[in-house]
Subunit: 363 residues, 3 copies
C-alpha cells in the first residue's frame, strides 16, 4: 500500500509537471484614492480600484499542437482592490442578464477557449466586444480611471440597457491575434457573433444577439483600427457602436485620436464623440492628455466636453504611481460624470470633475 | 531599513519556493455551441459550457510526510466558459441549501483536505457523492454535454429536492485513491458520511445526512464499480441511489455498461436505468456511442430511451474538438430532455434532441 | 502566418516567464468536525472550516524596484472547506455594506497593493484592522476554531454593527512589515486610515471611517504589541477597540497574555477582556491552553469566562491534526458561545461548550 501512495504522489508530481507547463497567472492590482465632484450637487472622497488599469486575476495558456496549430485558454476576472470583491458577469448581453450576487469573483472579463490555425484564431466564450478596443487602445488613459474616454464614449449605454464592453456566448474569428496591440504587425482583425439565447418564438428571441467586427493595421509607428457592433434589443431597436481610432508614435510624443458613434436606434439617442490625445514621455514616465467631446442628436443638442491630464511614473515595467485629473463640462441637458468608480450620479448641466492618485502593480 | 526590505523580499522569495512546491493549478476550458429541441414545444441555439468536460479551475497538491503518510488538498470550482460565471455550492445536501448569488466562483466541485496513510486516505470537506462516479466513469460521454448519461440517470432528482452529485460536510475514507480511475490497479473504494447539519430536535434534524460507499476493481483491461448512497430527506422519505458499471477495453473498441436505481422512497418515484455504450477508436480520436433506457415505477409505467453518438478528435492529450448528438424518446408521460446546459423545459411524451459542437482544452 | 502564431506562442511564453516570476500561490485547507452545545438549549454536530487556521487561497508577490524600493501585492480570500463556498466582503466598514451573494469567492481577507520604501510600506486596499492582530498573534489558538480568543474579545461587535476584523478602502503605513510576526525584529507598527465612503452632507457621511494604529516590539524571545482603532458609527457613537498583548518564549513553554477593550460608546456597551495562555511543546506538537474573562459595564455587570485546551500535532511544518475543547461560563445575563463556525445562537447565562477535531494543511 505504501507503494500505491508513493505512486499517487508520483502521479501527482507528473501531473504537476504536465499541468503547470502551460499556465500563466497574471493580473493587476491597482488602488486609487479619488476625490470626485458634481458641482453644486455632491462630492465624495473614496478609494476606488483601477485608476490606471482595472484590478484583475487571470489564468491563461497556450499549447503547441504541431502543424501550425495551437490551443489556448484565457480566463480573467475583475476585482476591486478597495474591497476585495469580485464582479458579476452577464448571461445574455442585455441588462436583464446582469449577475446578481456581484460580490463574488467570476471570470467576467474574459473566459475563452481558442484554436489557433495558420488562418487565424477561433475563439469561443465570453470575450470583449470588438468595439471596446478602440476606447482602450487609442485612449492615453487606457479607458481606466477618472479620465477614461468611456466617460463620454459610453454615453447612453445605461439608458439603452446594454453591456457595451463584453459579450457572453461569443464565437469569434481573430486574425493576427496577440496579447498586446503594440505587438501586432500589419493587418489584424476580429469578427464576432454572440448569442443572446432568447427563447425562440418570443418577442425577445433575438435580444442580446450581437454581430461585430474589427479591422486594424499597424505599420511602423502607426497603429489604427475601426470596428462596428450591433446588439439586438427589441425594446430600443438595436444598439450599435461604430468607432475608429489610432495612435502614432513620434518618439517625442505619441498622438492619439478616436471617433465613435453609439446609437440606440431611438430618436435622439445617437451619441457622437471625438477625442484627441497624447502621451508625452517625461522622465521615467509620461503625461497623458486628452480632449474629448460628445454630442447627442436630441432636440436640445446636448453636449459635453472632457479635459483630462495626468502623470504616470513607472518604477518598472510592472509598477507605477499615477495621478489624473479630469473635468467634464455638460451643456444643454447632458449630465455625464468623470470616473467609473465614483458612483456619483450625474446632474444635467453640472460640471463634473475628479482627481485620482494611485499605485498599480502587475504580475 | 534597506536591509529589512531586502529581508522581506528574500523572505517572500523563500516563501515562494516553499509555497509553490506542492501546488498544481489545473482545469478545463470547454465551450460548445448547441442546438436543442423539444419537439413541438421549443428550440434554442446557444453556447453552453462543458460539452466534453465541465469547465473548471482548481488547485491541488500533496506533501510527503514520511513514514508512508502524505497530506493533500484539492479545491476545484466550476465556471461557465460562455459567461465566465461561477457556480454556487450547497450547505446541507438538500435543495434548501442551494447557494444564492450563484454567479460567483466557488470551490463547488470539490474542497477537501486529506491525510494519506498506508491503510487509505482520510478525506474531509465537500466531495463527490460516490454514486456519481458510476455515471461519469462508465459513460462514454463522461457525464458531460448533450448526451450525458445523467439525462436519464438523474431522472427525478429535481423533484426529490436533492443534489445527487456532491456532498458538503463529508468525512470520507478512500482506499487506493488516484486522480484517474484508469490509473487504479486492483481493489479500490470509498466510504463516505456527510452531515446535513440540521438543527437537533427538529423534524428536519437529519435532512441532508448522507451515507454512501463505493467498491471497484480494475484487472487489466477491465474496470468496474458499484456504489450506494442514501440522503435523508424527511419530506420524501430518503433518497437513495444504487448503481454499478464498468468498462472493458478490447483495443478495437472499449465497451461500457451501467445500471442504476434512483429512488425517492415515495410511491412511483423509483427510476431504473440501463446503459450500454462504446468508445470506438478512429484516427486521432474516438466515436462515443450509447443506448440508454429509464423506466419509472409509476402507474403509467413512464419510460424514456436515449440514443447518443459523437466524435472526439484529439489534437493532443489536452485539446480536442468534438461533436455530439443525442435524442430522447419519452413515453407514457415521461418528459426528459437532452443536455444539461440547454435549459429547455421538458414536456411529457415530447421527443427531445440536441446537437453540440465544441472545443475543449486542459491545463 | 505560421510565423505569427509561433510569435504569439513565444510572446505567451515570455509573458509567462515574466508573469510567473513574482507570484506566490498560498493557502490553507482546514476541515474540522465539531460538536457544539449551549446547555439546556441546543446542540449540533457539524463540519466547519478552519478549526486551526481559516481556509483560504491567495496570490501575492513582490518586485524589487531598485534604490531600496519594492512593489508588492496581496490578494487573499476565505473559503469554507466544508462546502467550498467563498465569503463576501464589505464595502463600507459597517453592517450595511456586508456582501450579499456570499457564496462566491472574493478576496475578502486582504486585497492590497504596496510600495515598500526604506522608510516603510505604503499599503492600499482592503486590509486587516490593526487591532485584530492582538487577538491573532497573542492567542495560543490563533483566533481560530472553537477556542478562539475572539469568542470573548469580539463580544458586542454584532450588536454594534461593525466589522471588527478588516477594513475596506484603507490607506496604511506599515513599519518593518513581514509576513510573520515572529520574523520581525525590533520596533514595528502600522497606521491606518480607512474610508466608509458615505455620501457627503448626510447624517451617515462619516460612518465606517476608521483610524487605527499599532505599535509592536520584538526583543529576542519577547514580542508584544498595542493597538487602537476607532470606527465612526453615528448610530452608536463610535466603535473603538483598544488592545495589547504579547508572547514570551521560554523554550519549555511559550506564555501569552492579552488585554482588550471593545466599546460601542453607548452606556453599558464596553467589554473588557483579559486572557492568559500558553503553548506547551509536546512531542511533534504543542498543547495550547487559555483562560479568558470578559466583563460588560452594564448594570447587571455581565461576565463570561472561557477555558480552552487543545493539542496540535504537526506532521510537518505545513500539515497538522488538532483537537480543541472550549467552554464558556456566562453570568449575569451574558450569552456568548464558543466556536465561530457553530452557528448556535447564544442564550443568557447558558454554558456553551464545544469540541473540535480537524486536519489542516498549507500550501
Amino acid at each position: 500500500m505504501k507503494k500505491l501512495i508513493v505512486c499517487a504522489l508520483a502521479c501527482g508530481a507528473s501531473t504537476l509537471a504536465l499541468a503547470q507547463s502551460n499556465v500563466t497567472i497574471f493580473g493587476f492590482v491597482d488602488a486609487t484614492v479619488g476625490h470626485y465632484n458634481v458641482a453644486g450637487v455632491q462630492s465624495v472622497t473614496k478609494m476606488v480600484s483601477g485608476g490606471n488599469q482595472a484590478s484583475r486575476l487571470g489564468f491563461r495558456g497556450t499549447e503547441d499542437l504541431g502543424g501550425g496549430l495551437a490551443a489556448g485558454f484565457w480566463i480573467e476576472g475583475q476585482f476591486a482592490t478597495d474591497t476585495g470583491a469580485g464582479s458579476g458577469s452577464n448571461t445574455n448581453n442585455t441588462a436583464s442578464g446582469n449577475g446578481t450576487g456581484q460580490s463574488g469573483f467570476s471570470f467576467n472579463r474574459r473566459s475563452t477557449v481558442s484554436l489557433f490555425t495558420p488562418a487565424g484564431e477561433l475563439r469561443l466564450g465570453r470575450d470583449y466586444n470588438p468595439t471596446v478596443w478602440q476606447n482602450v487602445w487609442w485612449d492615453p488613459f487606457l479607458a481606466s480611471g477618472v479620465a477614461s474616454a468611456t466617460n463620454l464614449a459610453f454615453a447612453g449605454t445605461s439608458g439603452a440597457g446594454v453591456n457595451a464592453m463584453r459579450n457572453s456566448n461569443s464565437i469569434g474569428y481573430v486574425y493576427n491575434s496577440s496579447v498586446y496591440v503594440d505587438n501586432r504587425v500589419g493587418l489584424y482583425g476580429q469578427a464576432q457573433y454572440a448569442m443572446g439565447e432568447g427563447t425562440s418564438g418570443t418577442a425577445t428571441a433575438s435580444d442580446g444577439d450581437v454581430v461585430a467586427a474589427l479591422v486594424g493595421y499597424r505599420y511602423g509607428a502607426f497603429n489604427g483600427s475601426i470596428a462596428y457592433s450591433k446588439t439586438k434589443l427589441a425594446s430600443v431597436r438595436d444598439y450599435t457602436q461604430t468607432n475608429a481610432g489610432g495612435a502614432w508614435d513620434l518618439g517625442v510624443v505619441k498622438l492619439y485620436g478616436e471617433y465613435g458613434i453609439a446609437n440606440s436606434g431611438m430618436p435622439g439617442t445617437r451619441y457622437s464623440s471625438y477625442m484627441i490625445g497624447a502621451k508625452i514621455p517625461l522622465g521615467s514616465g509620461y503625461i497623458p492628455v486628452a480632449l474629448q467631446t460628445v454630442s447627442q442628436n436630441n432636440a436640445a443638442d446636448s453636449k459635453a466636453n472632457q479635459y483630462a491630464i495626468g502623470y504616470v511614473y513607472n518604477f518598472s515595467i510592472k509598477t507605477a504611481i499615477y495621478a489624473s485629473y479630469a473635468r467634464i463640462a455638460n451643456k444643454s441637458g447632458m449630465g455625464l460624470t468623470v470616473g467609473n468608480g465614483s458612483g456619483l450620479p450625474g446632474s444635467p448641466n453640472a460640471t463634473s470633475s475628479g482627481t485620482e492618485i494611485g499605485l498599480r502593480t502587475t504580475f
